[in-house]
């Protein structure tokens, strides 16, 4: 046992540790609109009566792009350098109970990405921190079949 832990990049974005992780959002008790991540008041009806909810694991890809160049760092905190950078997919995914979430995608080939395709949440290692722990982020991968 190395004592290495898997730490979410930010507390409260997704359930972790978990065998069946989910993104965590907030739903307004008054009008049912959903936000991600959690926030304390409703951007639709303006009331301050939000409840923490878990979003669905699967959804449809609403739109996408590929990040083609190494992002300015900071704020980008990935493990790559400009020289080792490999493009990554980014998209918005429609999830139940009613929100579109922005996320990195596991696929970076434009030929393999299509608006409307089914995708599924994964929690994956982003990088290691100074202590050797794995920093975890959420992403979505195409559902095959």
């Amino acid at each position: 046992m190395s004592g290495k832990k898997q730490i979410p990049i930010e507390e409260g974005l997704f359930t972790w540790p978990s065998d069946d992780p989910r993104l965590i959002g907030a739903r307004c008790r008054s009008c049912s609109r959903v936000t991600f991540p959690v926030q304390q008041s409703c951007p639709y009806c303006t009331l301050e009566d939000m409840e923490r909810i878990e979003l669905s694991k699967r959804g449809k890809l609403w739109t996408w792009t590929i990040q083609g160049f190494y992002p300015k760092s900071p704020p980008y905190a990935g493990p790559e350098t400009k020289e080792t950078f490999v493009p990554y997919g980014v998209g918005y995914i429609e999830l139940a109970p009613g929100v579109k979430v922005e996320s990195r995608l596991t696929e970076n080939n434009p030929e393999k990405l299509k608006i409307g395709m089914d995708v599924e949440l994964v929690i994956q290692k982003f990088k290691e921190d100074e202590k050797g722990n794995e920093v975890m982020i959420y992403a979505f991968k195409p559902v095959v079949g």
Binding site: R33, I66, K100
Partner: protein, 380 residues
């Protein structure tokens, strides 16, 4: 109360090593003063903004410490449009008779640096690689092309026209027209957008002097009247930049709202607009904004662009100075460059890029993060 534009000034956009952003703003102000036959002491108020080149109100150190009302404006890339709106309301309200809207900037090379904290977002958003404006542009046009049948050909043609027009504008940055092939083969930045479809952060300054319409003819034989100015922010459901989530409901963008408000105030419809400046951060934006500003239905852009409708000699010339694509994007100044170009067109002073018809009505639209649009309608 009528509001008139009586003087305009601009500092060349692009890169000017020897001049600070503030100096470029001051240059534009002095040019506008000369254009209007005024001195700095005649200016009763000013609204000005810059994102990276310092507080606009420190310009008074050079222009003169007259004690005028000077308020700084910050609304992302729409800063210039918001500054103009504020100046318009200052006169329309009867508070002042003569004033200034000014904007300038000087950005470092490379993509705009985004600190998520500036936009009310957690640091994770930037750490993970989502805090990039070009990503959003790619995603928005990707969806639009899918929904409305716009092709890559349109993206390329819009950029091609921008560089062609830019080569005719004395203050533009990109003076060399780029070929269709060069644009089509440029490196993919954020699919489906390629490098030469995007504007680049740049430098520049622009200034607009306005006055109470009743006294406009004291200063110029060719006043341009601000028939409307409107600013709107994003409503629940619109698809804007820096959004970790979007609603399922879809709502019209702030561009649609600002545009409608301006048409209503002016009592003028989109079919009457003869020359327009529309935000073209990249080709896709211009295309979407054509519909959002009421100039066509979603999807019609493909045919309009193919038919040359948006060329200088077309039915609705758009961005006759090359827009953001050919001028670059100095955030504080762009919204006012747009107004400068339309005023110059309406006054018949646009030289090589002059629209060859009797112009009466022009339009400007600028969009900025985190989802704000400013529109003006201008007439002779």
């Amino acid at each position: 109360m009528d509001v008139a534009i009586i003087g305009v000034g601009i500092h060349p956009f692009g890169r000017t090593e020897e001049a600070s952003g503030r100096d470029q703003g001051i240059y534009a102000v002095r040019q506008a003063l000369k254009h209007a036959g005024l001195e700095w002491k005649d200016i009763q108020f000013a609204f000005g903004g810059s994102t990276d080149a310092g507080a606009a109100d420190t310009m008074v150190n050079s222009l003169g410490l007259t004690g005028l009302q000077f308020i700084n404006v910050a609304n992302g890339c729409a800063t210039g449009g918001s500054a103009l709106f504020a100046a318009y309301t200052a006169i329309a309200s009867g508070a002042w008779d003569v004033g200034l809207a000014v904007g300038f900037d000087k950005h470092p090379r490379g993509a705009f640096a985004v600190d998520p904290a500036d936009w009310g977002l957690g640091s994770w958003y930037g750490e993970v690689g989502l805090a990039l404006t070009t990503q959003w542009f790619g995603m928005k046009i990707q969806k639009y092309m899918n929904d409305y049948g716009i092709s890559e050909d349109s993206l390329i043609k819009v950029a091609e026209r921008a560089y062609r027009n830019g080569s005719l504008a004395p203050y533009s940055w990109r003076k060399r027209p780029m070929s269709y092939e060069e644009i089509a083969n440029s490196v993919m930045i954020n699919h489906p957008l390629r490098q030469y479809m995007f504007c680049s952060p740049a430098e520049g300054g622009a200034a607009i002097i306005l006055c109470n319409g009743n006294v406009a003819r004291k200063y110029t034989s060719k006043p341009i009247y601000l028939r409307a100015a409107a600013v709107r922010t994003r409503k629940y459901g619109s698809f804007e930049v820096f959004s970790p989530w979007l609603a399922l409901d879809q709502a019209p963008s702030p561009t649609v709202e600002a545009s409608r408000a301006a048409y209503e105030t002016a009592g003028i419809g989109p079919e009457e607009i003869q020359v327009a400046q529309i935000q073209d951060t990249e080709s896709g934006s211009e295309i979407m904004h054509m519909a959002e500003n009421g100039f066509c239905k979603h999807g019609e852009q493909e045919a309009l662009i193919r038919n040359g409708d948006t060329e200088i000699n077309g039915r609705l010339p758009i961005n006759t100075d090359g827009g953001c694509i050919a001028n670059g994007e100095p955030i504080g100044a762009s919204g006012l460059r747009q107004v400068y170009d339309i005023c110059v067109q309406l006054r018949g002073e646009a030289g090589k890029r002059q629209v060859q018809k009797k112009l009466k009505v022009g339009y400007t639209h600028v969009y900025g993060a985190p989802g704000l649009s400013a529109v003006t309608i201008l007439t002779t």
